[in-house]
Symmetry: C3
Subunit: 343 residues, 3 copies
Amino acid sequence: MSAETVYTLGELATLLDVELRGDPALRIDGLSTLKSATAGKLSFLSNPRYAGQLADCRASAVILDPEFVDACRISRLLSPVPYVTYAKASQLFAPPRSQSSGVHASAFVDPTARLGSGVSIGANAVIEADAVIGDGSSIGAGSYVGARSKVGSNCSIFANVTLYHDVTVGNDVILHSGVVVGADGFGFAFDGQRSIKIAQLGGVNIGDDVEIGAGSTIDRGALDDTIIECGVKIDNQVQIAHNCVIGAHTIICGCSAIAGSTTIGRFCTIGGAVGVIGHLHIADRVMISAMSLVSQSIPDAGVYSSGTGLLESKEWKRNIVRFRQLDDMAKRLRELERLTLGK
Amino acid sequence: MSAETVYTLGELATLLDVELRGDPALRIDGLSTLKSATAGKLSFLSNPRYAGQLADCRASAVILDPEFVDACRISRLLSPVPYVTYAKASQLFAPPRSQSSGVHASAFVDPTARLGSGVSIGANAVIEADAVIGDGSSIGAGSYVGARSKVGSNCSIFANVTLYHDVTVGNDVILHSGVVVGADGFGFAFDGQRSIKIAQLGGVNIGDDVEIGAGSTIDRGALDDTIIECGVKIDNQVQIAHNCVIGAHTIICGCSAIAGSTTIGRFCTIGGAVGVIGHLHIADRVMISAMSLVSQSIPDAGVYSSGTGLLESKEWKRNIVRFRQLDDMAKRLRELERLTLGK
Amino acid sequence: MSAETVYTLGELATLLDVELRGDPALRIDGLSTLKSATAGKLSFLSNPRYAGQLADCRASAVILDPEFVDACRISRLLSPVPYVTYAKASQLFAPPRSQSSGVHASAFVDPTARLGSGVSIGANAVIEADAVIGDGSSIGAGSYVGARSKVGSNCSIFANVTLYHDVTVGNDVILHSGVVVGADGFGFAFDGQRSIKIAQLGGVNIGDDVEIGAGSTIDRGALDDTIIECGVKIDNQVQIAHNCVIGAHTIICGCSAIAGSTTIGRFCTIGGAVGVIGHLHIADRVMISAMSLVSQSIPDAGVYSSGTGLLESKEWKRNIVRFRQLDDMAKRLRELERLTLGK
């Protein structure tokens, strides 16, 4: 953790808007798990399974649900949603996102670009013609904002991010290093001999409060825009193809790939390394387990999976041989039933 | 879409070399789908399934097969390959790839590098010693071209692309942001205690008319080159390991991974998130469906798949338990057949 | 291969510490496989399966096990571990990693950063406040080292790498282009309406002699550090989530994804495109085959797999239909056994 940030416990109770039981003068200089906490740290109990760790916790204070108020003797911050309170506390201890506002001497900002107030443009960043950067946003070192692209206010674009031309990013958006927004969708017309490129004339539209992890790629649309609605959280190395629509507040875990023109609903959770083929519609509140392949539309909320589960390779090999015989086995079983049961 | 590009319909018919039925003076300022088109747009019918949308289409004109010539009343461009004609039309409306030629003041070009005529080197790009950039090629902002690497003519290398040293790129190649060509292949010799690095002394050879999507990586060979033949189209976040050979005009969809020394034939289609293990030979015109694992060579053209298909998780769990029993089930079925059928 | 590097065979025998049988004056200008070698090349036999190629090999010399000493007539370097000797020889022919030491005029180095002796900072690289770069390390063009991050000595950080703030990298580490170390782990607390970001306050700690391939991402920890122990080798486009611990000398092949808080043991081999879900413990010396999903902890060394194997799609479709009926089939089989066998 960086340069020390210190609050009194009383200040934290006020900032987090929770009830304090204990000493408001305690100095808190960081957060920690129950298990590894030391003096000066604020810890939290969000999963009741770990309540047993409260007794031995060496933190100076702990965030917990009022039902556990008597389960420990150290100072307490009482919250009915301790994990949410921990999330808010974590933000208070985060290092500042950019050291200073202003345009670094080594950055290139096209004279026609418009920068809001309090904008920070990092070293060797490049802002192209007619781009717009909203108030309080920071563009990291080496990042690129293409012509006519618009970044909203209070965004954090880390180092080495690439926004192509004609891309729109909302407010309070976080883009991590290596993100590429607006590269051409993958579209070709095969003329019998070779693949003719279909120019990708749409853009990308990213809503407010979206976060996109390192190395993820969001392609521009063929004709209309690719759309990431507000509150969507996308982990690292996720691929969103052209003309997808990702519904508000959906979460997509690392290394998943969504093929072109697929629409995913709101409040979905797409596990890690999931594949979704193109032109599908996924309903709201669908959960897909890790590494599943979604090959059909899903009209109803629910939890869905594919795959075989992990086996020791020797055992696995015996079973995949049988997988190839499954249809045959099913027919033989049916025949035996006919003979034995007469049905 | 960017600054307005306008053609008359007559100009488009000439540029696309197709027959016009309608008003050559109509002004066309963009492309659109049949469904969302408005006045001024050119649309297209490539999939006959959508022919029903022609009647209500509000586009100013439409590209279609002569067999549908009477299916709508708006102006028509007649093409026996409407999707190919649409692809060509899309290129006419694409924004120019680089604003201007010349070396940006903030770029670094080694004095021994050679730049062709009409080359554009973007802001903060770096061109190392003895690199060669062919006529009319553009190198995007922040991109890096290593020592002795050669880029052909009329290439578009977008922002933040990395070419290592001793890499060869053909003509008319498009490399999207985040692409890395020529990083070391993954090779080690384990000495019983640790992994000793095998220096990767080969290069990468990319043919003409290749496009590689954002974040894809093509490793350099161990001794010989990794080879991407002409016309290959690679989507985003694809990994091509050292000493692979990807045959001409093959298409590799997003997030697929090809392990080392595998040869893939010509005119193949590798679906998204496919894995291909190393040292295999895949024939020409093989199609692999999304998220399949190719673990053996494929000597014959055809369509291949792996995986279980998606199920609701409750149902899936019941079945994967049985997957682990499959070999046992097969033996028990055989025994019942012996008893019941006497065979 | 780059500018010519030449050794005499005698020099190579000395540098590699192996016995020479043949002409020490032979000039060797590169390495080659047995099959494609020409005069001037040094080849190697590591897999006895290829011993038959020795007879026709046109290399000037070959590295081989003493048991094959009489299997060819060209000069020989005798090594009991020919593949390890080849690895060491390959390093002798690798081009130098950076042309020169010093800070490129276009780079930005914060005045509070500390650079060791013989450090090379490439064009347009950025080194932030209080960062430390150890002796003999090179930072590639366009790379970014965040505030307070520490890079050890003799590291090779290629072009366009991103290290966030407060990241620690050991000695002799190689990071390829597009690598991102220290982006925020993917952590949110859902408050019923939206996902509240959990600031990621931990760092990343990378041990000595680690290599990380192009486009791979290693996230910073939520509270404690994410840890990559010494000697770990990570291929391209691998994702390591927050608070993972990867044990010493483990190998992770391309496109694998390890979810948060998972611990992987020492000397493991994780195949390509493998997924490992979060909060698991994997023992030492575990091997996971390509594209498997690890969904439970693995307490014992061994080889593990999942998936179905590849089939022609027609046959595959017949069998996955049956996969959905597997539980039903198992019950029907049991019933037949009851009737037929009376058990």
